[in-house]
């Protein structure tokens, strides 16, 4: 009757019928488990996981401290992609060498981080702070409204400057150093330079956020504030300022992630990027357990690996293009059914 019944019927019809199925399945399984394929899938999965960590890290920081689920996070990533792209397009010339282009990328990341952090801080002071005492529903609503405004503003600017006849801003892709597009082969396992770049960047972010949380004074406040922000303010910490700083940091990371995505041909700078990154970021943050950074990293790895292996399966075994994408949300649904608080979540945080 309902779509679920349809789903079952269609899944049955997707697989080749009859006795041929087990044989094909075994073949596919053997192929999948061969070291090169497996390593390939794993590398690709980790590269994807790095992207997911990048787009989810800021979200988790903000939620962990303040309990605000920031719906505008995706839009901030999108703004970061455009801003970083703008820097890249302006700075990088045809003749710029590989090292120069990497340097330009660094500049773009810094610019996007700074600008988005400033915007995020402003948003926190102007809009989010007045409603901390309301039910969390209103903070979700507010950031949802901010998304609408930011997306539409971006669309106006993009249309006005004619940046985008196509959905992906092609000029930015052209500013990549050539060696990122090459694929590097080690012992039969091939990975594109871009994937390795993603992994490097993702690992750097994880290490950076981890150091921030465990080694700095503000990191201490974040961890303490997640437990009990009233007690934190009773101890003489200016909680409002901590909130602003963390919100700015979270949006800054979103901006940096955007710059990374702008170089990736499968994402690219575009207005719909806002929704496209917001949803996986939510999945990662929720699966990991809201507000725990460790959970976010683990969840990103899970989602990345599941996604890359499902992509492989559905390219080589059954033909249903949308399924890998669907699997990401299935991971969310299944996790919440089995473990309602996410992998590392605490129930009090979910009680919002």
């Amino acid at each position: 009757m309902s779509a679920i019944a349809h789903a079952a019927a269609s899944l049955a019809s997707l697989a080749p019928a009859g006795a041929a199925l087990p044989l094909q399945f075994t073949d596919a399984l053997i192929e999948f488990l061969s070291p090169t394929t497996l390593a390939d899938v794993i590398v690709r999965g980790i590269a994807e996981a790095s992207l997911y960590v990048m787009i989810a890290a800021g979200l988790t920081l903000v939620f962990g401290l303040m309990g605000v689920l920031n719906f505008a996070h995706g839009s901030l990533t999108m703004l970061g992609a455009y801003l970083g792209g703008l820097v890249l397009v302006t700075v990088v010339a045809q003749s710029t060498g590989g090292a120069g282009r990497l340097l330009a990328f660094g500049v773009a990341v810094v610019v996007a981080f700074g600008a988005l952090a400033a915007l995020g801080g402003g948003l926190e002071i102007g809009l989010v702070r007045p409603i901390y005492d309301r039910p969390p529903l209103y903070q979700i609503l507010l950031t949802f409204g901010v998304t609408l405004v930011l997306d539409e503003l971006a669309r106006i600017v993009v249309l006005f400057y004619g940046l985008q006849p196509t959905t992906v801003w092609q000029d930015v892709l052209g500013t990549k150093p050539a060696f990122l597009a090459d694929s590097l082969g080690v012992a039969g396992v091939s990975a594109s330079g871009l994937e390795l770049f993603h992994i490097l960047f993702g690992v750097a972010t994880v290490v950076g956020v981890h150091l921030f949380l465990t080694r700095t004074r503000y990191g201490l406040f974040v961890r303490a504030g997640g437990e009990d922000s009233e007690m934190l303010s009773a101890l003489g910490v200016d909680v409002n300022r901590v909130f602003t700083v963390v919100f700015a940091l979270g949006t800054g990371i979103a901006g940096a992630a955007g710059v990374l995505l702008a170089w990736d041909p499968s994402w690219g700078a575009s207005v719909p990027l806002a929704a496209e990154t917001l949803l996986p970021a939510f999945v990662v943050v929720i699966v990991g357990g809201l507000g725990t950074f460790r959970g976010t990293v683990v969840a990103a790895l899970i989602v990345g690996l599941v996604d890359s292996s499902m992509t492989w399966w559905f390219q080589n075994f059954v033909d249903f293009t949308g399924l890998p994408e669907m699997v990401v949300f299935l991971v969310l649904v299944i996790t919440l059914i089995v473990k309602p608080q996410g992998l590392y979540g605490v129930s009090e945080v979910g009680g919002h």
């Binding site: 309902s2 309301r134 949802f144 409204g145 106006i156 809201l290 669907m326 979910g350 009680g351």
Partner: protein
């Protein structure tokens, strides 16, 4: 209010033909837009029924809307066993509601183990699974990404009293009935017929939901919203109440989806299942008044009016044609800043960018008018408008 809606097409026609013609076409929504307002308001009401009354944000509510819409579209194309293209629309309407309610039962029974943000996310997750699935499932049409158009039947879908042919009319943008000479002097275009027919269904659904809200069942939902632990302590099985409300809400969302296809004759994954459809319902609920059943209607009316006013095509009215017709070319060509002319500025900042202004307004509402239009009006008047307005008027005349 019902009367105002019923009179609108007539008043609109009168005004269009009067001296204020240009202003009216620019400012007031077309009848066609109002039809959309009606069925989308029904969807927003069903969203408000669960989210506004129990406080559980159902962020994947589009799943039920889409289910209803796809069921009608597929049945009309003969893709559903036992439901041929000739199945009466009234039956499809109910079946769409039932299908969505069954889906709501399945999703809700799992989701209501969670609360707060987690509940919003799991419902979002379910609806996105369905969205991606519908987008790539080649059974629904040869190009599932572009959605389904009704091709199986070329007649309009008929709405009416079952069994009484004389009281049923065909609706739809392209293929509907027009009525001439009703009571000797009323002539209605197909769109106006659709307006009244869909309006009647929406009214019935609204009254049914209103009945539920004012019943002990609805009071319990509000108790859950205000303090769920206390409601449970009193002895209510809150899980059953929430699930029941979710199923009812899914039922009416399914009907709204069915009406949508009945009028538009096509549906795509983007306007049926995508999570931003639920986002739109949320938006109009907040503007109209969260937790007031009629509020979403006002919110949607407002939203649709603004969107049409700022629509890019300016079809049937709106800002751009009005300005083109009434502002001199010299003014339009005036340069404001750095080569930007007035016409270009209008094009850049106003035309087709209603989402920006609606979004800004939404933020302002969340910050300063959390009860929305209707909720705030009720607070001011001290009670429900139907009762409070006459009371105030009486005091005015007496005092």
């Amino acid at each position: 209010m019902i009367l105002a809606f019923a009179a609108y097409p007539g008043v609109y026609a009168l005004l269009v033909n009067s001296g204020l013609s240009a202003e009216v076409t620019a400012l007031l929504p077309r009848i066609e837009t109002l039809v959309v307002v009606l069925f989308f308001a029904l969807f927003a009401m069903s969203f408000d029924f669960i989210s506004g009354y129990t406080g559980y944000l159902s962020f994947g509510h589009a799943a039920f809307y889409g289910t209803g819409a796809y069921l009608v579209a597929l049945a009309a194309n003969g893709k559903i066993p036992l439901l041929g293209p000739e199945t009466p629309f009234m039956l499809l309407l109910v079946l769409a509601g039932v299908a969505a309610a069954v889906l709501a039962l399945a999703i809700g029974s799992v989701s209501f183990r969670l609360s707060g943000v987690y509940f919003a996310m799991i419902t979002l997750g379910f609806s996105q699974v369905l969205y991606v699935f519908m987008r790539d499932w080649d059974f629904v049409s040869s190009a599932p990404r572009d959605g389904v158009a009704v091709t199986g039947t070329f007649e309009g879908f008929r709405i009416g009293v079952p069994g009484v042919d004389g009281l049923s009319v065909a609706i739809g943008q392209l293929t509907g009935d027009s009525i001439e000479g009703l009571f000797g002097f009323i002539n209605l275009s197909p769109t106006e017929v659709s307006f009244y027919a869909i309006g009647a269904v929406v009214l019935v659904c609204y009254l049914a939901m209103q009945r539920l809200v004012h019943s002990p069942f609805g009071r319990t939902l509000i108790a859950i919203r205000e303090n769920e632990e206390r409601a449970r302590a009193i002895g209510y099985n809150t899980y059953a109440y929430k699930l029941g409300a979710f199923v009812v809400s899914g039922f009416f969302a399914g009907i709204a989806g069915a009406l949508f296809v009945g009028f538009r004759r096509s549906v795509t994954p983007e306007n049926g299942f995508y999570f931003l459809v639920a986002g739109d319902a949320l938006l109009v609920s907040i503007i109209g008044g969260f937790g007031t059943l009629a509020g979403p209607l006002y919110g949607e009316l407002f939203d649709a009016t603004v969107r049409e006013f700022l629509s890019k095509e300016g079809g049937g009215g709106g800002l751009l044609p009005y300005l083109r017709a009434n502002v001199g070319d010299a003014t339009l060509a005036t340069e404001i800043y750095n080569g930007l002319t007035v016409a270009e500025a209008i094009d850049t900042f106003l035309n087709g960018h209603a989402a920006l202004y609606v979004g800004l307004l939404f933020v302002l509402f969340v910050l300063y008018v959390p009860n929305g239009l209707l909720g705030t009006a009720r607070d001011r008047m001290g009670g429900r408008l139907a009762k409070a307005v006459p009371r105030h008027l009486r005091r005015w005349f007496d005092g």
